[in-house]
Amino acid sequence: MSKELYYIPFTEDMKKDYTILVPNMLPRHFKLILQVFRNHGYKLDLLETDGPQIAEMGLKYVHNDTCYPAILVIGQFLDAIQSGKYDPHKVALVLFQTGGGCRASNYLSLLRKALGRAGYDYVPVISLSLAGIEKHPGFKLTVPLLHRLFYALIYGDLILSLTDQCKPYELEKGSAEALADEFTEQLAAKMEEEGVSYKKVLRNCEEIVRRFAALPMNRVPKVKVGVVGEIYVKYSPLGNNNLAQFLVDEDAEVVMPGLLDFMYYCIYDNVLDYELYGLRRLTHPIYRFASDFIIEKQKGIIDLIKKEGTFRPPAPMTHTVERVRSVIGLGTKMGEGWLLPAEMLELYDAGVKNIVCTQPFGCLPNHICGKGMMKPLKDRHPDMNIVAIDYDAGATRVNQENRIKLMLANAKEQLEQNPET
């Protein structure tokens, strides 16, 4: 209903000379994804800017009680548009959103409002959402493109996970990151050269695992810290004050459940809408098919990691879903919903008992699915060591780090008493 307002379509002409700006969330994945788009004739730029001026810009144009990710993403866009690096009449923006009952589904509207206030209401905004996308003649998610994007995501998850598993133990500092960079460079091109098929992807993944496993390592027991939370602050270094790096500097191994879990969660929720409420009678077979597809592809990856034997594979989503049922109803589908406690359990089962639960200050779904689930989780597993951290334009790093340090101090003590885990 509100969709016509401020809606500037991205036309086929624009595809020729417009630069599409993409906010950074997951550096590793996004580099791959952008390359896939470039191969399909788009001009894109990943915004890797940081600094306090981004949040300030956001605070200026967005209601200050809005969630921090919106403030950052919108601030980052406006900061880029005003930086002089781009011709504002030759840029378009792309925004990822999830939709649903959380207020995050309003990011697109908030961005358009902010653009209007700042005098850029002519800038087209392309919203990428699983809940459907507006018509943009110059921006079409064709089947071959989607196919490649899916595998880019698979690659991204794998590389991220392996890099994190190597970083604290590598003998040669930076070798894991360098290898990750190398693969990131190659893989998108490879998809175009050799085409995509699951078989080829598996073969490439095998190589990735083999190469990472061959890096010289000193595997001494270290504290493992899982990171879960609201999708943006969980992954984005801009959103979480570079949490992953902080943890590595504190001599911990970071374990971040992959983006595939989140994708599965988003798709599976539509299946659940049918099962719980009898909604989506017509489309539900498609969602069912898509979720089964993910499970199947994920299994292949898990199997080859297991086969190689050096690394900890992700848990199959089917297992994760079963695991969480006793803690929270699967109907909880706003924000990260049931996925949040599910990931904590997944981590716990994999021996990662220390967890940072990240959330934007005042995140509504997280009252229920994050902070609200800590007691039931701890009741079941008293040795879970969870710390909830709020991220916000006003929250300071020193307070966040002090709380994380407390979690780490306990984790180290646990490790000393019980180095096996």
């Binding site: 209903m1 509100s2 969709k3 307002l5 600094g51 306090p52 949040a55 200026k60 209601h63 200050n64 009680d65 809005t66 969630c67 649903g100 009952g101 589904s105 309003n106 697109l108 509207s109 358009r112 409002k113 719980l276 409420y277 009898g278 909604l279 929270i328 109803g329 109907g331 909880t332 706003m334 924000g335 005042g362 995140c363 509504l364 779904p365 009252h367 229920i368 699915c369 902070k371 609200g372 689930m373 007691k375 039931p376 701890k378 909830a388 709020d390 916000d392 334009a393 006003g394 929250a395 300071t396 790093r397 020193v398 307070n399 780090e401 002090n402 340090k405 407390l406 101090a409 306990n410």
Partner: protein
């Protein structure tokens, strides 16, 4: 033996104090506790030197702890231990049978549970109730922290004070003081708020019992605080342990940790390293200096020096005068003007917690200076204490602050477009269009960076407010502190101190923060042109040249600051008073025998039981405050006006409860139940259940459940749910029903029809956090209420699991009856809405749509604002009673929540009807309303209407609400006069 044990030194640098302990084995050789006034490195070096003086330069094991110690440990290369971890080290060593530790520091509060799995918790970012908070509150009461403690021991009653954070508490305390509450009671209430904050915010469902050890500076010094803790937790004398080393526990823990590091240090070397790293290692970002050069400052001052008012001496004046009094939240101001508006006398000082005495003294002084030459022809009072002062002293007029300030600003700039007033507690802005106030914006608790906030920082660093402001002017690189609320700002300051920022840079940084806060949070402007050409800034805070400069910079526009910036309210009131011919103000003789006493009582007028303060002014006059309606003030209301909130409450609480054939089902009267109660009640009664509805909320209901709230930043309507569940559990019902509803009723009025995440899934949280629920059947199925068929199917399956098989046909009929009851309710609400509108129009009354969510009609959530509105002459209707009169709205955001689609339609109704105003109730912490408020504001302001938002929380200062509603009334009246 002793001599062989190694020396261990622990240094604990917290947010306000630094502590050092030198230990050898079990004996402490040296300990010291000092405030560091932000000079972290100097103080650390000093303390270490003093320690060296005592223990010499033998090798020591050394570790640093504390929130401000983190940075120091890194640069000096000394091991760091997290402070909570350090504390638990000590406790395990010294008090192994402890069950729980409560430690309060300057800005952090911590709880450690030892029983049943060690668990350590620190307060989140949104939290008060710490040492700094107590200091702030003492400042507010104008006593030292020691005096506050002493006062608290002589309390007779406790007032409820918000425990969410210091800012909220402050807005509760100020009116108490202004209404004349006893300081003893306020002091004890402050401590109680700290206790509540700790218990509710940190315990989060875990019971505090067994042997409890209290640590940290505040708990060492404040006896009253200990008393409140022990009483609240019901601890026996032997179970409440106050350790001698309470202040040093972290430092002691650090010394224990130091020993484990296995690395000794030479103290001299460490001291050298601390001294050496004094250079700026700032990680926090800096801003450009406020003034480039002394000349720059001088020309700035010269420009602003022009906006003055003519002054003369009252003691040599002859003729008529008018008196204006501005009894503000923290300061009292008086102005006396002569016939040609010459300012003859002024007064500006802190309330010191007793404005009545100040006004009396000042009036006596004014009369003395007047002698026989001068006649007082009129007087007016404005501000928080308006009613109190007007009643006590017979002041001629009581005027709303907005009117007073506009009157004064007009004097300086007749064509003023925009007025910004930053006072002690409030930021007020109003736009002027066509000579009338066009829109009014006020700050909320979370945008509270105002004058008293600067003052608190100044005092904490050991300066007067003027000295502190002056320092900021010469800052070379002001720190960038962001613009969140005071509590957040505290930690930003802490961070910058850690990074070695100077007092100058902090002062200037704070000035910039105050300004950014006003512009981006309160005014919500993106550029100067949104404010207009002629901008007048005023309020005591603008006496700070740094604030003024930062404001002009941020705006890129020059503004006018009258020389009497702090007196504008009083000056405006005096100008206003000139319409009087003869004054009713107490005479000099009457003032001499003026007495004022106050006492507090609990109103018995209705179930609200407001805390009343009765002020007695000698034999004939008394003034009652604190009442939420007219009853308590013993005023007669002229036949109650229609009030849809009241109507809905009455309807919902008198639904039939059915017969008990299958069992008794508890329905918690909170959140979504306010909407769907008729449906669920209809279904359950038709199925042969007796329904037990929890009563309308009270503070007591809330307190029943506050121990199991896991997220203290959730909204009050959600938190109060815990109390309703606790109440229902006490009734011994067979089950409690609150379903999970992703989707709300589809009224076909928006893009979708969701519930907000909290309303939708709160049951999941309850199930996980309220332990007692395991003793009953907690029914929270996921349901689809838009398809009777699906609902029947799901309910039959679900209920049969718990209550034995129920035939499908029976459920189908029950669902049908439920929907019939819901439809009947909605029809009744709409009919009553239309009836009320017709009544208002027939009787010529103003109409207020008091809009929010269905649960805002809860008297404890809405704080009786509906009644306040009717007492001000409004007919009150709710958003859902009139939104059917307007078509569904297109808005610029995703219109996907059922409740909010109604809100937009109601706003459109108000926009289209001249006699209708919309006031939006917004619960603190409601994330969804960050989106809706802007839209509602746009709809209203687009049609030239006022937008009024009332932010409500656990405790709401009705005084402030009254001022806002009266400002609205004042503006409406003025507008009508213009026409």
């Amino acid at each position: 033996m002793k001599g062989c044990e190694p020396l261990c030194l622990g240094l604990d640098i917290g947010s306000t104090t630094a502590k050092v302990v030198v230990r050898q084995g079990e004996s402490v050789l040296y300990e010291r506790y000092e405030r560091h006034f932000s000079m972290v490195r100097q103080k650390a070096a000093e303390l270490l030197e003093q320690a060296r003086f005592v223990v010499g330069d033998a090798p020591v094991f050394l570790a640093i702890s504390g929130s401000a110690g983190l940075g120091l440990s890194e640069v000096v290369g000394v091991p760091f231990v997290q402070e909570v971890y350090a504390t638990s080290e000590v406790v395990r060593r010294l008090e192994p049978d402890t069950s729980c530790v409560i430690e309060l520091g300057g800005e952090d509060a911590k709880i450690i549970f030892f029983d049943g799995g060690v668990e350590e918790r620190m307060n989140g970012s949104c939290a008060g109730g710490t040492g700094a908070f107590i200091d702030q509150m003492a400042t507010l009461l104008n006593v030292t922290a020691d005096e506050l403690d002493e006062l608290s021991l002589h309390y007779t009653r406790i007032y409820p004070i918000a425990s969410r954070c210091g800012v909220f508490a402050k807005t509760d305390i100020q009116p108490l003081l202004n209404q004349g509450a006893r300081k003893e009671d306020v002091a004890a209430s402050i401590y109680q708020a700290v206790v509540n904050q700790t218990v509710a915010g940190l315990a989060q469902g875990r019971k505090i019992r067994g042997k409890v050890l209290f640590l940290g500076g505040p708990l060492y010094y404040c006896k009253g605080l200990r008393q409140r803790f022990a009483e609240t937790l019901g601890l026996s004398a032997e179970n409440a342990v106050y350790a001698e080393y309470a202040r040093f526990s972290v430092a002691l823990g650090a010394s224990l940790y130091a020993e484990k590091t296995g690395k000794t240090e030479s103290l001299t070397e460490v001291i050298d390293r601390v001294r050496a790293c004094r250079t700026d290692l700032s990680a926090s970002t800096r801003l450009p200096a406020l003034f480039d050069s002394p000349e720059d400052l001088a020309s700035f001052r010269a420009r602003h020096g022009k906006n003055t008012v003519q002054t003369a001496d009252l003691s040599s004046y002859t003729g008529n005068v008018w008196i204006g009094i501005d009894c503000g939240s923290t300061t009292t101001k008086l102005a006396v003007i002569g016939e040609d508006n010459t300012l003859l006398y002024t007064y500006y000082a802190s309330n010191r917690g007793n404005p009545v005495q100040i006004v009396r003294e000042q009036l006596i002084e004014i009369y003395r200076l007047c002698g026989d030459r001068v006649t007082v022809c009129g007087s007016a009072v404005t501000g928080y204490g308006e009613d109190l002062i007007r009643n006590g002293f017979g002041v001629d007029y009581g005027i709303v602050e907005t009117v007073a300030h506009y009157t004064a600003a007009k004097y300086f700039r007749p064509n003023v477009d925009f007025i910004l007033d930053i006072g002690g507690q409030d930021i007020k802005c109003f736009r002027i269009r066509d000579g009338a106030i066009d829109s009014i914006l006020l700050n909320e608790a979370c945008s509270s960076g105002c004058g008293s906030f600067l003052e608190t920082f100044a005092r904490a660093m050991g300066y007067t407010i003027a000295e502190f402001a002056e320092k900021g002017l010469s800052a070379k690189a002001p720190v960038n502190l962001g613009s969140r609320c005071t509590v957040f700002m505290n930690s930003s300051v802490k961070q910058s101190q850690k990074d070695g920022a100077s007092v100058e840079d902090i002062s200037a940084g704070l000035a910039v923060s105050v300004v950014k806060n006003a512009i981006y949070k309160v005014i919500r402007a993106a550029s100067a042109c949104e404010l207009g050409e002629n901008i007048v800034v005023q309020g005591g805070t603008f006496h700070n040249d740094g604030v003024l400069r930062a404001f002009e910079r941020e705006l890129g526009h020059e503004v006018i600051r009258p020389s009497i910036a702090g007196l504008m309210g009083a000056f405006g009131a005096a100008l206003y008073a000139k319409r009087a011919g003869h004054s009713t103000l107490l005479s000099a003789e009457e003032l001499e025998c003026f007495v004022h006493t106050s006492k507090s009582v609990l109103c018995q007028g209705c179930t609200n039981h407001c805390h009343l303060t009765i002020n007695d002014f000698g034999s004939k006059k008394r003034f009652v405050s604190g009442n939420q309606c007219e009853k308590g003030a013993s005023l007669k209301s002229e036949g109650a006006l229609p009030n849809l909130h009241e109507f809905k409450r009455n309807y919902l609480t008198s639904l039939p409860t059915g017969e008990n054939r299958r069992g008794r089902i508890g329905l918690p009267m909170a959140l979504g139940m306010y909407e769907l109660l008729p449906l669920w009640n209809g279904i359950f009664t038709a199925l042969g259940f007796e329904t037990v509805l929890s009563p309308l909320s009270t503070r007591q209901i809330y307190e029943k459940g506050q121990f199991s709230i896991p997220s203290d930043t959730a909204c009050y309507p959600a938190k109060i749910m815990h109390g309703h569940i606790a109440w229902l559990l006490e009734q011994g019902v067979d089950g409690i029903f609150y379903p999970c509803l992703t989707y709300n009723v589809d009224e076909k009025a928006g893009d979708n029809h969701y519930n907000c995440p909290v309303v939708a899934y709160y049951s999941e949280l309850l199930n996980g956090n309220v332990e007692e629920l395991s003793g009953t059947k907690f029914l929270y199925p996921y349901l689809n209420i838009n398809s009777p068929r699906q609902l029947t199917k799901e309910l039959q399956k679900y209920l049969s699991q718990f209550f034995g098989p129920i035939p499908r046909g029976e459920v189908r009929r029950a669902v049908k009856e439920g929907f019939a009851a819901y439809d009947a309710y909605m029809a009744a609400v709409r009919a009553e809405g239309e009836k009320s509108l017709a009544f208002a129009r027939r009787e010529g009354k103003r109409i207020m749509i008091l809009a929010g969510r269905p649960y805002h009609i809860d008297p404890e959530i809405g704080h009786g604002i509906d009644k306040l509105a009717t007492s001000l002459g409004f007919v009150v209707v709710s958003e859902d009673s009139i939104c059917h009169l307007v078509a569904p709205q297109r808005v610029r955001v995703l219109n996907q929540w059922t409740y909010h689609a109604r809100l937009y339609r109601a706003a459109r109704y108000a926009a289209e009807h001249a006699d209708t105003q919309l006031v939006q109730l917004v619960s603190f912490g409601c994330g969804v309303d960050a989106i809706t408020t802007d839209e509602v504001r746009e709809i209203l302001e687009g049609a030239g209407k006022y937008y009024t938002q009332l932010k409500i929380d656990e405790i709401t200062n009705l005084g402030a609400v009254r001022i806002r509603l009266r400002s609205l009334l004042g503006a409406l009246e003025e507008r009508e006069e213009k026409r």
